[in-house]
């Protein structure tokens, strides 16, 4: 129901003051003008707002940076097709070999997939929802308006679930499409698939939302510790379980008994009370054309998802505003920060640089380490890669031939290079743009402007070299690679760290965006996308010139110790030299171009 507009002045402020005074309650006049918007009007309004924002943003991106859209679409398509091809190959193999319990194996893969996605979505939706409900400027704006808390919650919840579940679509859908093709599933399977997905994302999304609401309301002071501890607990349990399973599983010589025992280790994922199992059963039933059975599981997924959502939305009417208040005022107004041992260590590490450059590096490092959103992503990826590298020895070394060992080592180098490219593209490229609003002080300091660039370059290259060299050494030592390979890998990583840092800092100065304050938005803009593409090309060329020739040559040898032919080593050495020269160019040219532009720049 809408209120009557316009309001008459007499309705707003009645002439008789006496009528305003109500010892027993609020103004009668104010009651008469309260809008009692219907339940759906706010939801419709927020849907319209989201649709308008998406339309305007798409239009803007299409006009300003079509390259970004093309890159996103190409990368997404590539990932989709790779996952599809691997899934198709795996499932066709299982079917063609008529492997014992192959149906259950696929079921187990689905169970694990949906269980992993559930955990991932609980965490990602929870984290996104926390920031969008409690710390964003938009939340403060909406909460100071007339919309009820549960409507604001619903709007934010939908946004968080949509944002966090795109990975489900990108990784889950090609696997299911492959399953459908291999099983010759009927059309109803493909039609039911999105309905299952929509119901499924409600479940972990709502669990994440419930956790966030409860944590900020009842243990607001320890919310970060709880998030960290629960994440660490999940990783520890998953890591321990994975280690135990790997220790128990041979790479070859499988038999029936071994397979049955392996399947038993996955029994927890097949519990009837686990939502991931409902998804597996429902989709498998749909694949077989058993519609009734499939709809039963679909109903289970949806009813539980909706129940949890209603619970979260209901709770939000009482707890959202209360939680917002607690987050905003739970800790002291001021927090003292001081210098840390890490700052002093870094200062010593870069002690050979000009004192002004050193100060700028420490400033950037402090900003970086005080923003968990920045370093947490690097920590997670580095941690995962370290975990993988420390486990490869047991899996591969004893039971895989040299050719595979050689290939895996090269792939690990590529993965480390990709991590570096992501790090420099996401965190280093926006750094100069972010200085825009502080340029009134940096620009007036008694130092040459290009020192800003050198400072950022040194900060990036130091961090990149330290992390990436450690990772690649770990991988090579675990794989017991020959000394020549290790040396070439160390060189490749050093060239990559310097080249990618030079590209990101230099291009960041050539194409600054001083209006934007969000580094993620700067990273995905036109300049950021161009930097990412340039970085990937540089990565391919560097590995192609420095490391790949040795690996290709070594692939033909049966024994790595025999790879010592002088002529071959000379060619490999020359190519490595060309790669290093390319790295030097990628470092120096963008930095010089950036420095020239920075000197001329007006603020």
């Amino acid at each position: 129901m809408r209120r009557d507009w316009p309001l008459k002045s007499s309705e707003l402020f009645p002439a008789e003051e006496a009528s305003l005074a109500r010892p027993d309650g609020p103004f009668p006049a104010s009651e008469s003008i309260i809008a009692r918007g219907s339940e759906t009007s706010y939801l419709r309004l927020f849907h319209r707002l989201r649709a308008r924002l998406v339309a305007n943003n798409t239009d803007y991106v299409l006009r300003q940076s079509p390259l970004r859209i093309i890159t996103i679409l190409l990368c997404s398509s590539l990932i989709w097709w790779v996952v599809f091809a691997i899934s198709m190959g795996g499932m066709t193999y299982l079917r063609s070999k008529n492997i014992y319990l192959s149906g259950d194996l696929i079921g187990i893969v689905f169970n694990i997939l949906f269980l992993a996605l559930t955990m991932l979505l609980v965490f990602s939706t929870g984290i996104i929802l926390y920031s969008s409900l409690f710390t964003s400027q938009e939340a403060a704006f909406l909460l100071s308006g007339p919309a009820p808390a549960d409507k604001v919650f619903a709007y934010k919840y939908q946004g968080a679930v949509m944002f966090s579940s795109w990975s489900v679509l990108l990784i889950g859908s090609p696997i299911l499409f492959a399953y459908g093709f291999v099983e010759h599933a009927p059309l109803s399977f493909y039609l039911l698939m999105p309905v299952f997905f929509l119901g499924f994302i409600l479940l972990p999304g709502s669990i994440g939302a419930l956790c966030v609401l409860l944590i900020v309301n009842f243990i607001p002071k320890h919310r970060k510790q709880i998030l960290f501890l629960s994440g660490a607990l999940v990783l520890f349990v998953a890591g321990y379980w994975g280690y135990e399973t790997l220790a128990f599983t041979p790479a070859y010589n499988w038999d029936r008994e071994m397979l049955s025992r392996l399947l038993d280790r996955f029994s927890f994922a097949q519990n009837l009370g686990v939502p991931s199992h409902w998804m597996t059963r429902g989709l498998q039933a749909a694949g077989r054309g058993a519609l009734g059975r499939s709809c039963y599981y679909l109903a289970l997924v949806w009813s539980n998802g909706l129940l949890l959502y209603v619970l979260a939305a209901g709770l939000s009417t009482r707890l959202y505003r209360r939680g917002y208040n607690r987050v905003a005022t739970g800790s002291s107004l001021r927090r003292r920060y001081g210098s840390a041992g890490m700052d002093r260590l870094l200062s010593k590490l870069v002690g050979f640089l000009h004192p002004q450059v050193r100060l700028l590096i420490i400033k950037d490092f402090r900003t970086f380490r005080r923003d968990p959103a920045q370093w947490a992503q690097i920590l997670i990826f580095t941690g995962l890669m370290s975990l993988y590298f420390t486990n490869i020895r047991r899996v591969y070394l004893g039971e895989v031939d040299w050719a595979h060992q050689n290939g895996i080592s090269l792939l690990n180098l590529c993965a480390t290079g990709l991590l570096l490219a992501a790090y420099t593209g996401r965190f280093i490229y926006p750094m100069l743009s972010l200085e825009g609003r502080k340029f009134w002080i940096l620009g007036l300091l008694p130092m040459r402007r290009e020192r800003l660039l050198w400072g950022k370059f040194a900060f990036s290259a130091t961090g990149g070299v330290l992390i990436a060299e450690l990772l690649v050494l770990l991988s090579d030592v675990m794989l017991a690679m020959p000394a020549v390979a290790i040396g070439l890998h160390i060189l490749a990583v050093a060239v990559l760290a310097c080249g990618l840092s030079g590209l990101s800092v230099g291009l960041g100065a050539c194409m600054p965006n001083f209006r934007e304050t969000d580094p993620s938005k700067i990273a995905v803009g036109f300049g950021g996308t161009l930097n990412l593409v340039a970085g990937l090309i540089f990565l391919s060329l560097t590995i192609g010139l420095i490391a790949a020739p040795w690996h290709l040559y070594a692939a033909g040898a049966r024994d790595p110790d025999q790879i010592q032919e002088a002529n071959a080593m000379l060619v490999i050495g020359l190519q490595a030299l060309v790669g290093t020269a390319l790295g030097a160019m990628a470092t120096v040219i963008p930095l010089l171009a950036g420095a020239r532009l920075l000197r001329r720049m007006e603020f």
Binding site: R2, R3, D4, W5, P6, L7, S9, L12, F13, E17, L20, A21, R22, P23, G25, P26, F27, S30, E31, I33, I34, A35, G37, S41, Y42, L45, R48, L49, R52, L53, N56, N57, Y60, Q137, E138, A140, F141, L143, S144, G145, P146, A147, P148, R321, R322, Y324, N325, A328, T329, G330, S331, S332, L333, R334, R515
Partner: protein, 265 residues
């Protein structure tokens, strides 16, 4: 009029804070604030940085809840009946929020829909505020391209669009050119004359002196003076400008606090 106003209780007040205290962790931000503002009154809230002004404003808007005491707007308790209270008010923060990927017109339309305004009336009011704040030149551009002044004018247009009964404004003149400041002052006067209650937090003492019916001075979370300029002058035992009175009152408060601290130690 103002002496009468100050003696009234919440039943008569459009904004009422009854013995309100607020702490951040263990640190108090607002202490035992008792304040009642009448319909149509323009109230200026002054205080040094960190005195508790923004915290008080956020409690009036229902963004923060008092640790003790009650905040009411239009008689509605913000904690129990906040949605109804917020229907009556508009809040212009010191750093206003605009959806960067909406045009000014789309933002105004969103606000009109948010307050459930009838479509025809909403369009008419939009045309009025676009004219009033001279937004026509840029109202169809994305707000991310707006300068500070353009953003501020758009936010004020949005705040007045639904004809609120209470207007809460935090530092409205920061970054505005003299012409815009004049426009804003005239507008606030007009709104107050129309009966809108205005709660104005500012560091611009000349704006407060020129516009306010009553002035409240807050320091270290406590209301150390409240009334007309003459009332504050007599409290400060001096006859000067608001700036001189303000400085004397806040300096005295600092000295008292230091003495209190010394006694405690």
């Amino acid at each position: 009029m103002n002496e009468v106003l100050s003696s009234r209780t919440w039943q008569h007040s459009m904004i009422s804070l009854e013995h309100v205290s607020k702490t951040y962790g263990t640190k108090p931000a607002v202490l035992d604030l008792d304040l009642h503002i009448q319909p149509g009154e323009m109230f200026a809230f002054l205080g040094p940085n960190g005195a508790g002004k923004t915290t008080t404003i956020k409690m009036i808007c229902g963004l923060l809840f008092p640790t003790t005491g009650v905040v009411r707007v239009g008689g509605f308790d913000l904690q129990r009946d906040g949605d109804r209270a917020r229907q009556l008010l508009s809040y212009v923060p010191d750093q206003p929020y605009l959806y960067e990927k909406l045009t000014g017109r789309e933002f105004l339309q969103f606000i009109a829909d948010m307050y459930g305004m009838d479509r025809e009336y909403g369009l008419r009011r939009m045309a009025e505020v676009i004219g009033l704040f001279n937004l026509a030149d840029f109202v169809d551009e994305l707000t991310e391209r707006y300068s500070h002044g353009m953003r501020q004018r758009t936010v004020f247009a949005a705040a007045l669009l639904h004809e609120p009964r209470v207007l809460v404004v935090d530092e409205p003149t920061v970054g505005l050119d003299p012409k815009s400041v004049r426009l804003l002052k005239d507008l606030l006067k007009q709104e107050a004359q129309r009966g809108v209650t205005i709660f104005l937090s500012t560091h611009s003492l000349d704006v407060a002196q020129e516009l306010a019916d009553r002035i409240g001075v807050v320091a270290n979370g406590r209301l150390i003076g409240c009334g007309t300029l003459d009332h504050l002058r007599s409290q400060a035992e001096m006859s000067g400008s608001l700036e001189e009175v303000f400085l004397k009152l806040t300096d005295e408060k600092d000295v008292q606090d230091e003495k209190g601290l010394a006694v405690e130690i």
